[in-house]
Amino acid sequence: MLMPAIVWFIIFLYKPMYGLQIAFKDYSIFRGVADSPWTGFEHFETLFSNDQFIRAFWNTIKISALNLLFGFPAPIILALMFNEVINATYKKTAQTIVYLPHFISSVIIAGIVITAFSPSVGIVNTVLGWLGIDPIYFLTKPEWFRPIFVGTGIWQEAGFGSIVFLAAIAGVNPSLYESAVVDGASRWQMMWRITIPSILPTIIIMLIIRIGNVMEVSFELIILLYQPATYETADVVNTFVYRQGLQSGRYDFAAAAGLFNAVVAFVLVMVANTLSRRYSRTSLW
């Protein structure tokens, strides 16, 4: 039963690692991976001597931190709220509605965001207009990029992300609630004292996984939304690599940046896992 998974890992994860060596080579697609000459750490030096890369690195961290701070609790809160809804029809309808954005492609999402925040016809500026505020050209203001991006991410993924927590809640032993009712606990107390502690292991595992993905902000959405005017806050490592590496065919350089990304993510996961094992005795491994 394990075979398909092992085969998948070998073909799609281990075999491509062979190609990682181009990060240390002057790679020519024509000559191929094996025949391209070695250059040592040249690509890494280029990378770290580039201020825009450093900026992109910190932007990645900042956007991810915001995502973690606001985006991580959102599905948990949503799941807890769904759990308290009594009317089944209402609950199902609401769940379907919040799941839907997850299935919309980033291109469409970007189109919706651009239109919603447009200074002339966008709904946001229309509402601001009613309040007597002048239209703001949100998508060209560096200070607005992160809130818009993180907010869009929450809107798109919070509903779908809540499924795993709902499943965890469904697994809580009902006798705990029954005895709490007998003891006269309020619903609020039951949530704090029973539901949340019971799903805490799930929350921590999800958090560790999430930390591992810190460097992987959804860059296709950034590419669709950013402008040179907002590079200052919007440019992340992946978009930087795309612009300066892949667009001009510098695969070796892009591979170096990707490798660096992976190393950072690996360190973060290790740290999160160790901390979690030490303090909560829950861990991925």
């Binding site: 020519s28 697609i29 024509f30 000559r31 191929g32 280029t46 580039n50 201020d51 825009q52 651009i114 447009s118 200074p119 002339s120 239209p135 050209y137 998508l139 060209t140 203001k141 560096p142 402008q227 040179p228 005017a229 590079y231 200052e232 440019d235 612009r243 300066q244 892949l246 667009q247 001009s248 065919g249 510098r250 350089f253």
Partner: protein, 520 residues
């Protein structure tokens, strides 16, 4: 429905086309036809269709059959990256077809040609391709421009004909409605744009007019030429330029600073579309058909077509205007059709029939071949009248003629051929022709930078610095125009930052490559 019409038109054409004259002198191989594989993915069409009438005609004349083996075909509109990706994919797959045609092929073949992926063409042309040889002898600057750093040619370019590309356009009926004259200077132009904004030329009682708009935001930056700045030296946005035989970058010059300062002012006053950076390619369509847009800078042929809106919007008239005189009195049109594109085709390094292939390339530079590449098939798409190819009326009526042409295999950017501007004149409308005449009389065009080919060391320096310099330039540019920064206050800082990022190193390698390639 359209498809049906097209195929029935082709079928009808077939019947009429049969009695073509035998063209034995064009035959490249005798006996069995020679089959050559081809990768062709360019901005206009993602594959090479063997059923194209033009290919069928070429087969009949040359006895060479192109067999499509294109990888990475996609319909992406982002032509620059999409097509390069297809080329990279082809190379990574390890099989290089006999012929490789693409948009943006120049840098690609100039990088991988010397490594052996493509054949150098100089000797082949000298010995086997009289028409190509004659062409390059007459235009040595083109031969210089396409050569790689080792001095050899690796591809035959698509060579656009005709000079004019983009022009200034303005709603002349709005000028009339407000009693204004055609603007002659930058001051006039500003007044006109302000009047568009404040005096309600569309008459709906709201100040919803968008005086200056553009489909591509670099066309806003183009306006710095009105303050003696420059936005690009070639038909590619943000490109380097040649000043007195030396390469410079337009975004580091004084005129640019002055221009950006004024454009920021225009933007703040609402003379420029507030959404210019995000409205995108539908801007022209939307703003003109909603009767909101006043003036733009865009292509002759496609923009003049919007005059058809006069059937919906009373009095609608969108005409080309001469470039307004800059603050120092110069009238220039920075954009023009470049005489040579980085598009075309090359011979794969593993091709077993290089001589036949170069003869085949040469075929497209013969009189018959060139006509085939430009106008399609005689009797099917055009007829000969007084020695000139004249499109059939039913072909002209099928919709945009350039699109109809590349659907039958003509006007392909992935084919090395010399365009004949006559093809375009035949379907340009009166507004375009009138505009072109205006620009012809004024002689507003300026010379262009045709690009350089780097050697490996130069390429390394360019790669290392240019991406960052360019990103920084565009970032500051948009910030200044949008008022998120002040060009006057930040200029010195900007210059020293450009220096830190390595602009002068990039300029140095540009200059050394330029000198090697063009002499002087």
């Amino acid at each position: 429905m359209r498809k049906l019409l097209l195929s029935s038109a082709i079928a009808a054409g077939m019947v009429a086309a049969t009695p073509t004259v035998a063209q034995d002198h064009l035959k490249i191989v005798e006996g069995d036809p020679l089959e050559l594989t081809v990768q062709m993915n360019h901005a206009r069409y993602p594959v090479y269709e063997e059923s194209w009438p033009v290919e069928q005609q070429a087969r009949e004349w040359t006895n060479v059959h192109l067999i499509d083996v294109t990888v990475g075909a996609n319909m992406r509109t982002d032509e620059n990256t999409g097509k390069t990706e297809a080329l990279n994919l082809m190379l990574a797959s390890g099989k290089i077809p006999d012929i490789v045609g693409s948009s943006r092929i120049k840098d690609f073949v100039n990088q991988y040609g010397p490594e052996g992926a493509f054949l150098p063409l100089n000797d082949l042309i000298d010995e086997h391709a009289p028409n190509l040889k004659k062409f390059f002898e007459e235009k040595p600057e083109i031969a210089a421009a396409i050569s790689a750093a080792d001095g050899k040619m690796y591809y035959i370019p698509y060579l656009p004909d005709g000079k004019y590309g983009r022009a200034y356009w303005i709603r002349t009926d709005w000028l009339d409605a407000l009693g204004l004259d055609m603007p002659e200077t930058v001051e006039d132009y500003e007044k006109v744009l302000r009047a568009f904004k404040t005096q309600d030329p569309n008459g709906n009682g709201e100040a919803d007019e968008v005086p200056y708009f553009a489909r591509q935001w670099p066309e806003l930056i183009r306006l710095v030429t009105l303050w003696d700045g420059r936005s690009s030296g070639s038909d590619t946005s943000h490109d380097f330029m040649v000043v007195d035989g030396k390469i410079e970058h337009p975004y580091a010059g004084e005129g640019y600073r002055e221009g950006i300062k004024n454009l920021a002012r225009w933007y703040e006053e609402g003379l420029v579309d507030a959404e210019i950076f995000t409205r995108g390619s539908s801007a022209r369509d939307f703003l003109l058909s909603e009767n909101l847009g006043g003036s733009t800078h865009d292509w002759f042929a496609s923009t003049s077509g919007y005059n058809r809106l006069s059937s919906d919007i009373e009095g609608f008239e969108f005409k080309a205007m001469a470039p307004p005189a800059s603050v120092s009195g110069k009238r220039i049109e920075e954009h023009r059709r470049i005489p040579i594109k980085p598009d075309g085709w090359a011979i794969g390094g593993t091709n077993k029939h290089p001589v036949e292939t170069i003869k085949y390339f040469d075929f497209w530079f013969t009189e018959e071949g060139r006509r085939l590449a430009n106008f399609g098939v005689e009797g099917m798409h055009y007829d000969m009248k007084d020695g000139k190819a004249i499109f059939k009326q039913e072909f002209l009526d099928q919709g945009p003629v350039n699109r109809s042409l590349y659907q039958v295999g003509s006007q392909l950017q992935g084919r090395g051929y010399y365009q004949d501007y006559d093809y375009e004149i035949q379907w340009s409308n009166e507004f375009a022709l009138e505009g072109i005449k205006l620009y012809d009389e004024g002689d507003y065009l300026i010379d262009q930078f045709l690009g350089v080919a780097f050697n490996a060391d130069e390429q390394k320096i360019y790669d290392r610095h240019w991406g960052s310099v360019r990103d920084y330039m565009l970032e500051r540019q948009q910030a200044w125009v949008l008022g998120n920064g002040d060009v006057e206050a930040e200029w010195d800082d900007y210059q020293s930052q450009l220096e830190d990022l390595g602009l002068s190193k990039v300029i140095d390698v540009m200059n050394s490559a330029y000198k090697r390639q063009y002499g002087g």
